[in-house]
C-alpha cells in the first residue's frame, strides 16, 4: 500500500470518527431534551413554564433560580400519596413475586416430574395472553370478588410473571446437576437444594427478574385505572394523568411529579444496570 493512499485512508477515518461522534452526540441530546426540559420546569414556578418558549433561548433549558417548591408541594398533594402507593405496591410485588416465580422456575428446571412439559406450556400460554388485553374481564372478576380498590387487588396480577419465570428457568438450567447430587448427599431435601444451592447461585438472575416484576408494576396504567382509583389506593401514573386533565393545571407540580415517577425506576435501573442488560439479552437471545 502506497503512503499516499494510506494517509487518505487515515484522513477519511478521522473524518468518519468525528462525523459519527457528532451524530451520536446530537441524537443522544435530542433524546434527553424532553426529560431535561421537564426537569428544568420542575424547578421553576408553574406560571413560568411557557415564558421562555417564544423564541427558544438559553433560559428555555436552564434556570438560574432553581427552587424545590414544586417538590415540597408534591409531598402534601394527592400525587405524593399516590407515589407512596406506587412504591408500596411495587415493592410488595417484587418480594412476593420473586418468591413465587423462583419456586416455579426451580420446579421446572431442577425437579424431573411427569407433566413438566404441560406446565411449561401453561406458563408460555399465559405469557402469550397480553395482560392489558384481559384487564377488563379481570376487573369484572375482581369486582365480584370485592378486590376493587384494595392493595391486594393492585398487587395480585403482578405476582405471577411468565417472563420472570422464563428468565429464572433459563438460568437455573445452567446450574450443574453435580451440585444437586452433592446437596442430596449432605441430606438436603428439595427445599434445601432450592434455598441453599439454587438461590445463592442465582443472585444476578434474581435481580434481573426482580427488575422485570418491578417495571411491570411501576409502568402499569390500564390495571390501576380499572381497579384502584379511589383517593386512598390511587397509583402515581393515574394521579398524574388526573392532574393533567384538570382545568387549572399547576405545571410546576405536574413536572415535579413526572420527574419523581421517572427518577425512581431510573435510579433502580442504573443501580442494577449490569443485571438489567443481562436480563434483556437473555430474553432477547433465548
Amino acid at each position: 500500500m502506497s503512503s499516499v493512499t494510506r494517509t487518505s485512508i487515515s484522513k477519511r477515518r478521522t473524518l468518519g470518527y468525528i462525523g459519527l461522534s457528532a451524530l451520536g452526540a446530537c441524537i443522544g441530546l435530542l433524546f434527553l431534551l424532553p426529560l431535561w426540559w421537564t426537569f428544568v420546569n420542575s424547578l421553576r414556578a408553574g406560571g413560568d413554564t411557557f415564558r421562555f418558549l417564544d423564541p427558544l433561548q438559553w433560559e428555555t433549558f436552564f434556570t438560574l433560580t432553581p427552587s424545590l417548591d414544586n417538590y415540597a408541594a408534591l409531598l402534601s398533594s394527592d400525587l405524593g400519596l399516590a407515589t407512596w402507593n406506587s412504591i408500596f405496591v411495587s415493592t410488595v410485588t417484587v418480594i412476593i413475586g420473586l418468591a413465587i416465580c423462583s419456586m416455579a422456575a426451580f420446579a421446572l428446571a431442577a425437579i424431573p416430574f411427569k407433566g413438566s412439559g404441560v406446565v411449561f406450556i401453561v406458563v408460555v400460554v399465559s405469557f402469550l395472553i397480553p395482560f392489558d388485553a384481559i384487564a377488563i374481564p379481570l376487573a369484572d372478576l375482581f369486582r365480584d370478588w370485592n378486590l376493587q380498590n384494595t392493595y391486594t387487588g393492585l398487587i395480585l396480577p403482578g405476582l405471577g410473571n411468565g417472563m420472570a419465570i422464563f428468565l429464572l428457568r433459563t438460568f437455573f438450567l445452567a446450574i450443574p446437576q453435580d451440585l444437586v447430587e452433592a446437596g442430596r448427599l449432605d441430606g438436603l431435601g428439595w427445599w434445601g437444594i432450592f434455598r441453599r444451592i439454587y438461590l445463592p447461585l442465582s443472585v444476578p438472575s434474581l435481580i434481573g427478574a426482580g427488575l422485570t416484576l418491578f417495571l411491570f408494576q411501576w409502568q402499569s396504567y390500564v390495571w390501576p385505572l380499572l381497579n384502584g382509583t379511589d383517593a386512598q389506593h390511587i397509583l402515581g401514573p393515574i394521579a398524574l394523568s388526573n392532574l393533567q386533565g384538570q382545568f387549572n393545571v399547576d405545571y410546576g407540580v405536574m413536572f415535579a411529579g413526572s420527574i419523581v415517577l421517572t427518577v425512581i425506576p431510573l435510579a433502580i435501573i442504573i443501580g442494577f444496570q449490569r443485571y438489567f442488560i443481562q436480563s434483556v439479552t437473555t430474553t432477547g437471545l433465548k
Binding site: 461522534s21 392489558d132 369484572d140
Partner: protein
C-alpha cells in the same frame, strides 16, 4: 435424584440399588407432589389471573343481556357479527392496523440504525447511547403527560419548528397529525429499549467477519447489509415480535391525550374496548372485542415466527 425415583429403577442398573433403605426413615413425598408444591402459587396466579379472564371473556362474548327475560341469553357469534358491522369498531381496527404497519418498522428501523451507530468507535459513544436509553425509565403515562405540554400550541414542539423556520402545527388536535404525534412520544420511550437488544446482538458478531469483509473491499453499507444484518436476525426477530405485541396494546397516551379523537383518528383497539365497556356499558361486546384483540396478537406472533423460521431454513 430422589430415593423414590431410584426405587423405580431396575435393581440391575446399579450393583446396589437402595431398595433396602432402613424402613424407619419417613418416606419422602414423591417428586410430583414436591414439584406441584413449588409450582402451585405461580400456577394458580397464572391460571386465575391470566387464563381465566380470557376464558371469561370468550364465554361472555357469546352472550347478550336480555331486557325481556332478565339476565343473559346465548347469542352465538352475534356480538362478533355486530362488531364487524359497526363503523366505530371497523374504524378502530383500521386505525390499529395502520398504526402497527407504520410504528413497528419505524421503531425497529430507527433502533437498528442507532444500535449500529452506537457500536461504532466514536467519542463518547457510551454516554450518548445511555441518553437514548434514558427514556425507557419513563412510564407511558408520564411520557403522555410530558408530551401533552410539548404538543400544546404554545409548547416546546412549536418553538422548535419556529427555530427551524417552520409554521406552527396543530399536532394532537389535527386528525392528520394526531396518530403520528402519538407514534413520536411512544418511540421516544421505546426506541432505546429495543436498541439494547440489538446492541447485544451486534456485539456478538465476531470482529473477524468485518475485517474479512474489509479485506474483500466491502463498503460500510455493504458490510451493514451483508454481515451485520443477517447475524442479528435472532434479536431482530425477538424485537419484531415483542414490539408488535406491545404496540397492539397502546392505551395510556390515547386515554390521556386524545380520547381516541379527533374524529376517531387515534381510536386504537384498546381504547375502543375501554369505551365500549365503560362509556357505552356494552360489556358483552367489549369482551368479544377483547377476544378479537388477543387473537389478532396471537396470529401476528405466529405468522412472524413462521416467517422467521422458514427464512432460517433457507
Amino acid at each position: 435424584m430422589s430415593p423414590s425415583q431410584l426405587r423405580d429403577r431396575p435393581p440391575t442398573a446399579e450393583g446396589q440399588a437402595p431398595t433396602g433403605r432402613p424402613a424407619r426413615r419417613r418416606r419422602p413425598p414423591s417428586t410430583i407432589v414436591v414439584a406441584f408444591a413449588f409450582l402451585a402459587p405461580a400456577l394458580i396466579s397464572l391460571v386465575v389471573l391470566r387464563i381465566a379472564p380470557a376464558a371469561v371473556a370468550l364465554s361472555e362474548s357469546l352472550f347478550r343481556e336480555s331486557f325481556l327475560r332478565g339476565g343473559t341469553v346465548f347469542v352465538g357469534l352475534e356480538n362478533y357479527a355486530d362488531l364487524f358491522g359497526n363503523a366505530d369498531f371497523n374504524n378502530a381496527l383500521l386505525v390499529t392496523l395502520v398504526f402497527s404497519a407504520i410504528v413497528n418498522p419505524l421503531q425497529i428501523g430507527v433502533s437498528f440504525l442507532l444500535a449500529v451507530l452506537y457500536t461504532r468507535r466514536a467519542a463518547g459513544s457510551k454516554i450518548w447511547r445511555s441518553l437514548v436509553v434514558l427514556p425507557i425509565a419513563v412510564p407511558p403515562a408520564v411520557s403522555a403527560v410530558v408530551w401533552s405540554v410539548i404538543y400544546r400550541p404554545d409548547g416546546l414542539g412549536n418553538s422548535f419548528l419556529a427555530l427551524l423556520g417552520l409554521p406552527e402545527q396543530p399536532f394532537l388536535s389535527s386528525p392528520q397529525q394526531s396518530l403520528a404525534s402519538i407514534m413520536v412520544l411512544l418511540s421516544w420511550i421505546g426506541v432505546g429499549y429495543w436498541m439494547l437488544f440489538l446492541i447485544a446482538g451486534i456485539n456478538d458478531v465476531p470482529t473477524e467477519l468485518y475485517e474479512a469483509a474489509s479485506i474483500d473491499g466491502a463498503s460500510a453499507w455493504r458490510k451493514l447489509w451483508s454481515v451485520t444484518f443477517p447475524l442479528v436476525r435472532r434479536p431482530l426477530a425477538f424485537v419484531l415480535v415483542a414490539d408488535t405485541v406491545s404496540n397492539f396494546l397502546i392505551f395510556a397516551p390515547v386515554q390521556i391525550l386524545t380520547k381516541g379523537g379527533p374524529s376517531g383518528s387515534t381510536n386504537l383497539l384498546m381504547y375502543d374496548i375501554y369505551t365500549r365497556a365503560y362509556t357505552l356499558g356494552d360489556l358483552n361486546k367489549a369482551q368479544a372485542e377483547v377476544i378479537i384483540l388477543v387473537l389478532l396478537t396471537l396470529v401476528v406472533v405466529a405468522v412472524q415466527f413462521r416467517l422467521l423460521r422458514s427464512s432460517d431454513n433457507a
